[in-house]
């Protein structure tokens, strides 16, 4: 079974530009989460999408946005890039809703996209 995939692996942009990051969840997973991992810091929650809807949002400015497509893949868009947006962006997926073993809470992570803003 394929895991969570992300593209591109690396992205270099200049300040003020826009970046688009993509994520494909594990087959059958309906929820996608985005995290920012800045150098030396832990993971900071960005966004949660489920069934095409934004369900929760972390403490990030509105220039961080995204969407989830009918096939459950997701995009993260970062507008008006700033130097401090340079980080590893991780996507995770999970199966939301009841299953035979109860709610599925575990998130499975992709390899990440390394964004560098110059």
């Amino acid at each position: 079974e394929a895991g969570v995939t992300q593209s591109p692996t690396h992205l270099i942009k200049t300040r003020g530009q826009q970046a688009t990051l993509r994520c494909s969840p594990i087959s059958g997973h309906t929820s996608v989460y985005w995290y920012q991992q800045a150098l030396g810091l832990g993971l900071q929650f960005l966004l949660w999408y489920d069934e095409g809807e934004e369900r929760n949002r972390g403490n990030f400015p509105p220039r961080f946005s995204g969407r989830q497509f009918p096939n459950y893949s997701s995009e993260l868009n970062v507008n008006a890039l700033e130097l401090e947006d340079s980080a590893l962006y991780l996507c995770a997926s999970s199966l939301e809703g009841l299953s035979s073993s109860g709610f599925q809470e575990t998130q499975y992570f992709g390899p990440g996209t390394r964004l560098l803003v110059l």
Partner: protein, 115 residues
């Protein structure tokens, strides 16, 4: 506020020895889930072990086990028979559905297994 604290930024252990990574958390919720993830130098986050807060029995996965002390809000990870492949950054995390499935991560512990 929901917080996770990992007080050991770096640790090392001899191959085949046992090491314990500490984690404390703070939440006002009663029903939550705790996780340990590892992130090797190749950077893909991998689930190591998980624990439901309502379960008193400590979770075990092969060489990995946890010591879950709910009253103390402590969730330590014990790695037995350490292997070179265990070298990684280890993150403690918890999640409650009341906070919109948001995971709260600690800042990580960098573990090095020495041959």
């Amino acid at each position: 506020a929901q917080t996770v604290t990992q007080s050991q930024p770096e640790m090392s252990v001899q191959e085949a020895e046992t090491v314990t990574l500490s984690c404390t958390y703070d939440t006002s919720e009663n029903n939550y889930y705790l996780f340990w993830y590892k992130q090797p130098p190749s950077r893909q986050m991998i689930l190591v072990i998980r624990q439901e807060a309502y379960k008193q029995q400590n979770a075990t996965e092969n060489r990995f086990s946890v010591n879950f002390q709910k009253a103390a809000k402590s969730f330590s990870l014990k790695i037995s028979d350490s292997q070179l492949g265990d070298t990684a950054m280890y993150f403690c995390a918890f999640m409650t559905r009341d906070t919109g499935n948001q995971f709260y991560f600690g800042t990580g512990t960098s573990l090095t297994v020495i041959p």
